[in-house]
Symmetry: C2
């Protein structure tokens, strides 16, 4: 078991109607709020109006139009500029993981005199960040309970995961009813995202029995409840359980003491999203079973056997290789069953830039140190199998 140093100081306020507590939380900070959001879905569900009503008396500056795979330019740069111009005290992010990820980069950039990219690219360590409060409207990334964000820089095809303990949200509001209107497509992508977060912590060399059980429970719960959310978008219990499960995805609580996996599917998917701006969860769902097939060997076999038996209930008496292959097949079939496009061509990616992407991944993602080490050639093969 590995040593670790762990703390998640975020307060989770969870359940129907909890946004009523927003004023009591915001009262801890100053009066100047940067309100960040995306494309307007929060207006459709009345949340935008609700927030403004609850925060009467505050000075609210808005940054809207934050896109999925949030962009350094213009979103992060605009947000940083607004914070400095208006002397912002606290950021209130309302939306999904992209809005929150972007807000985290803004929070750090607002307290730094130089180019915020210095921080995101780890050239400079942030010394401070504005406090962040969020209201989550999409169950997927787990950003509401972790200290990271993923930022894309279009001109260099960079999509960088930026982590700093300063970036844990102060408080995350999670009301499952706000996810009732999330489309089937985005719900499915969220399921795949959270499932892959779990798998990235489960497929490791050295895992505890305890963490294996936590991860297996995550995967079973996400499949059962995720499917219910797609079948009946207003199933409160299913939406709630999916929302909570997603929250645990990236704050390490599922894998404390485990060895590191290197997060290979994320490493590969980040290039897909950076080059083609596809939906992150869909990219992960496409890559995952191909990555599994590619790394299945004598050494990794026992992990896949355990995964197959405990997550999919495959008969433990079957031949080990049969269990492992069935488990990979079940993974593929589950994603397919929730209507995720399972080929890169279906999301607009052909073979023309595979070499370029594989090179970018090999240079930037450190996957030669992953649980199953991946060379540039391995990455080419995984991407080609995903076409």
């Amino acid at each position: 078991m590995q040593n670790f140093d762990y703390k998640t100081p975020t307060r989770l306020i969870f359940g129907k109607g909890v946004v009523e507590k927003l004023p009591s939380v915001m009262a801890q900070f100053g009066k100047k709020i940067l309100l960040t959001y995306g494309g307007g879905s929060i207006k459709k569900i009345g949340l935008y109006q609700k927030v403004l009503e609850l925060l009467k008396g505050y000075e609210i500056v808005e940054l809207s139009g934050i896109q999925p795979n949030p962009k350094y330019d213009p979103s992060v740069l605009d947000g940083v500029r607004l914070c400095k111009e208006h002397n912002i005290d606290v950021i209130l992010a309302v939306g999904g993981g992209s809005v929150l990820d972007c807000s985290k980069a803004i929070a750090a950039g607002a307290c730094y005199d130089g180019d915020p990219w210095d921080l995101i690219s780890y050239k400079v360590k942030a010394q401070a960040a504005l406090p962040i409060v969020d209201i989550i409207t999409l169950a997927a990334t787990g950003s509401e309970y972790d200290s990271g964000g993923v930022i894309s820089r279009t001109e260099t095809n960079d999509k960088i995961g930026y982590l700093d303990p300063l970036l844990y949200p102060h408080t995350s509001f999670l009301d499952p009813t706000y996810t009732f209107t999330v489309s089937k497509k985005q719900t499915a992508a969220g399921i795949a995202d959270a499932m892959n977060h779990t798998m990235e912590q489960y497929f490791v060399e050295d895992a505890t029995l305890l963490n294996d059980g936590f991860c297996e429970s995550m995967l079973r719960s996400l499949m059962v409840n995720g499917r219910k959310c797609i079948e009946n978008p207003e199933d409160y219990t299913a939406r709630a359980e999916m929302m909570l499960a997603c929250t645990y995805g990236c704050n390490r609580i599922l894998s404390l003491g485990n060895s590191q996996s290197g997060w290979p599917c994320h490493g590969i998917e980040h290039a897909l999203s950076a080059y083609y701006d596809i939906t992150h969860g869909e990219g992960l769902a496409i890559i995952t079973p191909r990555w599994m097939k590619h790394i299945l060997n004598e050494r990794t076999l026992p992990r896949f056997v355990k995964y197959g038996i405990n997550v999919f209930g495959i008969d433990a008496n079957l031949d080990k290789w049969e269990i492992a292959n069935k488990a990979i097949e079940e993974t593929y079939k589950f994603f397919e069953s929730i209507n995720i496009p399972m080929h890169l061509r279906e999301v607009g990616i052909d073979d023309s830039r595979i070499g370029e992407m594989a090179h970018h991944i090999a240079v930037n993602e450190g996957l030669e140190n992953a649980y199953a080490p991946l060379t540039e050639q391995d990455i080419v093969e995984i991407l080609t199998a995903s076409l």
Copy 2:
């Protein structure tokens, strides 16, 4: 699923050798430390000397002799007096859950002008508490990651669980090697304690699939690793996993969104420890299977069936009642197999005060609102069956 408001701000520094980081943590506070510990086992393992060496330059005031089932008088009162006399900045608790529980009550009492019992008995809400750092030497209570403590007041036979968000430790150091010298008896009691913490969150009316999996993983891991710790006290991996599992016992992470159980076994056991000062984990192990048998009925049957199948691997094709009864039997047999005395008479408790204890429990513990409501008569029956 129930609404919740949750935050565990404690930093966990876990693994072999991590105590070397103690100076960097303590540097955040002032120079005056109250060092709390128990009966001297920390001297035997060299930890006491190590701590003093690491904290050269600090003014250290000592409170030793804190007992299991820590006492309001003298320990809490002495600690509060010392904090006030020496203007203490931070408490460093070194030992097991009892030392830490006692230190939490001291931390609150030190910042209150009146009788500290006002706080523990919830007559007055604490407004502040001294920061607490701990180094844990016994895997059991989970106090290192929660905001509660249990304090006994001998003259009134009160044993009160005292909870306040102010009492989360600032930082908990968990080095599994410090638990190598824990006796088989105390190791077994620790296993039973952590298992019962989990069961108190698992046997509820309304639980998520996610939490059920977390709890089942806790129970399986505690049984497998606990047994290894008893067989080979210096098995680092087993001690480490048991230590981490115990840490999750009481901070609610296993049951966020579940309905409340009322913690019935703890309610009953607290009276046993208060009247007879027995080892808490042993009391829990004795009570648990008798409580299970007492509450098994049509309504609770499905929970016991799930428990039997997922925790003990009982054949799901058997008759439901057979599975449930087998599960209770397996629970009993596991505790027996790690040499816990499984009858009250073996720990010095006869039937002479059962009526008195049952009355005390019925009046003070609110078990009429438990998952399976318990009247005074029910408690008499459970205690009698445990003799």
